[in-house]
Amino acid sequence: MTDAAITVGTSAPVQFLTADGRFEPSATAEPYASALERLSEDDHRRFYRDMVVIRAFDREAEILQRQGQLALWPPSMGQEAAQVGSAHAARPQDHVFPSYREHVVGMIRGIDIMRIIEMMRGLSHGGWDPADPRNGNFHLYTLVIGSQTLHATGYAMGLTLDGSTGTGDPERDQAVMVYFGDGATSQGDVNEAFIFAASYQTPQVFFLQNNQWAISVPVARQSRTPLVNRGTGFGIPSVQVDGNDVLASYAVTATHLDDARAGGGPQFIEALTYRVGAHTTSDDPTKYRTNAELESWVARDPIARFKAWLQAEGAPESFFEGVEEEAKDVAADTRRRTLALESPPPDKLFDSVYSEAHPVMVAQSEWLAQYEEQMQEGDGA
């Protein structure tokens, strides 16, 4: 059995910027061009800044893991444009359900990215409150592949049922965006999410980052058809976008989120990108993929491409230097704050297993406290 690479759909992916940063929209980009007009020069620079800052954060987290400070790190290097473009396309009232690699999406929505560090250090299973206004409706990471797609679809069903979408008021109408990967498309839950979304015409965008590899298994083993066709098969409007083009990622996502909010039902976006790093720090990609493949994608790097375009647009060198400084500061701050993290007291473990009083939680919490007290007395003797 061969695993011939299948990365493109029946038409060219939506693209505005070529790999070397020239503004040359693909024919498929035409319906999305108007969405780009919403972006100011400040927005462009913010996109660039977010990509550079998160890459520095991501790199620092990887080093912290190598130094034994984190249990695990799932790097996002290479996927910055897909994530930054789509995240900025969401409105504040929208809800975002991530997978576990969308660090910059969380940062853009407002969570403290140290919460992700805490999780990967083994201090929490996430723990932030998506409903806290500071956290921008950014839901917790989900580690069981694809499970979050059903939660997102259920949430979107709720938006329809409580009349929070499709009223025609873009400031009020809400939509849901859910992130998942190429491997997840093989999961039953993702397919069931497509089915429920199509059946109930939910206001949601399925944002697939096809980073070509599900740990060591190439996308061709997940699907014999371009993944964008999967959405179409469920009756969901589907589009393929160059996920390493931050402008294309933004424009396509903004347009389809608008469609979802306006009552157009679910939408499916396949963003073609590449996981430049390992799946996680436990992985060794040299065992399953070639340097030539890696280099071909590094040549399409989302940050270099966008920098070239910004420079052509006249962004001064001082801007880029400032971003580099800020990125270094964020990395240093991440290190400093990671090393200062303290473990919460163990009795907290029993506090939030249930929302309501539970006799077993009370009994075991009390037992543990008594046991630890005894042990301390024993140590003292």
Binding site: S124, H125, G126, G127, D129, P130, A131, D132, H139, L140, T142, V144, S147, T149, L150, H151, A152, T153, G154, Y155, A156, M157, G158, L159, L161, D162, G188, D189, E192, A193, I195, F196, S199, D351, S352, V353, Y354, S355, E356, H358, P359, V360
Partner: protein, 357 residues
């Protein structure tokens, strides 16, 4: 089968599933008084009441709307509350529970029906890795008031996957609450209490009791959701079960009485958490305990009760705690279910063994 227990207040007569319930109501619309209903109608009345009390309560499942469910438990509810409150879902159990989680995140209180016990396993991942853990994962900021109704158990002569008792899997899972009513009155009240709970509740409905009638007191809940309860007092041996097996214990108690042996029957009602107060009190009185269940005995709810009672009431026990369970085999073809499922004779055999110590 005939049930002679006044405390259980059930009689086995099949009834028209469309029997209207709760004709008398208070000025607030709540039904009043006492009515005799089969358990399926009592659950229906409990669901309807919960839906009237809180418009965030939704029902979702396969065939529950227009058909009213394969057991007609939800009959008439879509007509009363509309398609936005009673959702006929696609045929996908994981999808049902997974979207119910999302709906609960949005503030709804979904009540999912799994059509049969043996079909809950496609949803097992969403129930155990997501539903059970999300409150802890959110460090308490998120409540997930999701009820999963599961018609379960044998005695109905059905084909494979339609007669099982999978409750131990869920009782074993932290973050879930697991209950099972044995009588129409408990079914009516426990359903409303389960829906009112801010935690996920697995609600196991003993499907062989769906058609058995009993009195439902619309005036007041008998005991809290997670309370166990003595349903027949006795002095010689305590026998304990949940769901349909409670009826078998009551039969055994009748038969024993004729032989001069007095059984005290405890209805567990809640499998997680387990209310040990009445159980221990009973065991301290009788000194003997038999735990009965339809499920296989290995790593079962009955095993857990036996272990805990041995720990907590060791000096009161005159005999080891005995389990009477389904055999540790896949649920057999229906013609063998009378061999597989514990009946009153199997209970009485264990009573004799317990008394022999």
């Amino acid at each position: 089968m005939t049930d002679h227990s006044p405390s259980q207040r059930t009689v086995d007569e099949t009834t028209d599933a469309a029997t209207p319930v709760a004709t008398a109501t208070t000025s607030t619309g709540r039904p009043t008084g006492i009515q005799t209903l089969p358990m399926s109608r009592a659950i229906n009345a409990g669901l309807a009441q919960a839906m009237r009390d809180d418009d965030r309560v939704l029902l979702m499942g396969e065939d529950i709307g227009r058909l009213g469910g394969v057991f007609r438990v939800t009959e008439g509810l879509q007509a009363e509350f509309g398609e936005n409150r009673v959702l006929d879902t696609p045929l996908a159990e994981s999808g049902i529970v997974g979207t119910a989680i999302g709906l609960a995140m949005r503030g709804f209180r979904p009540v999912c029906e799994i059509q049969f016990d043996g079909f809950i396993f496609p949803a097992f991942d969403q129930i155990t890795t997501q539903l059970a853990k999300l409150t802890a994962r959110h460090e308490g900021s998120l409540s997930l008031p999701v009820v999963i109704r599961v018609p379960y158990g044998g005695h109905i002569g059905a084909i494979e996957h339609h007669q099982e008792s999978p409750e131990a899997y869920f009782a074993h899972t932290p973050g879930l609450r697991v209950v099972s009513p044995a009588s129409p009155n408990d079914a009516y009240w426990m359903m409303q209490e389960a829906i009112a709970s801010n935690d996920p509740v697995l609600f196991f409905e003993p499907k062989s009791r769906y058609w058995a009638k009993g009195e439902v007191d619309f005036g007041a809940s008998a005991v809290p959701l997670h309370a166990s309860r003595v349903v027949r007092t006795g002095t010689d041996v305590t026998v304990l079960a949940h769901g349909a097996m409670v009826t078998v214990l009551l039969q055994a108690a009748e038969l024993s009485q004729a032989e001069g042996i007095s059984l005290e029957v405890v209805d567990l009602r809640s499998l997680s958490p387990i209310d040990y107060g009445p159980i221990l009190e009973s065991v301290r009185k009788t000194g003997r305990l038999i735990v009965a269940q339809e499920a296989p005995g290995f790593v079962s709810v009955g095993s857990e009760v036996a272990a805990t009672v041995a720990e907590q009431a060791f000096y009161s026990l005159e005999a080891p705690v005995l389990r009477v369970s389904g055999f540790d085999i896949p649920f057999p073809p229906a013609k063998f279910e009378h061999v597989y499922l514990p009946d009153a004779d199997r209970i009485l055999e264990a009573v004799d063994r317990a008394l022999a110590y």
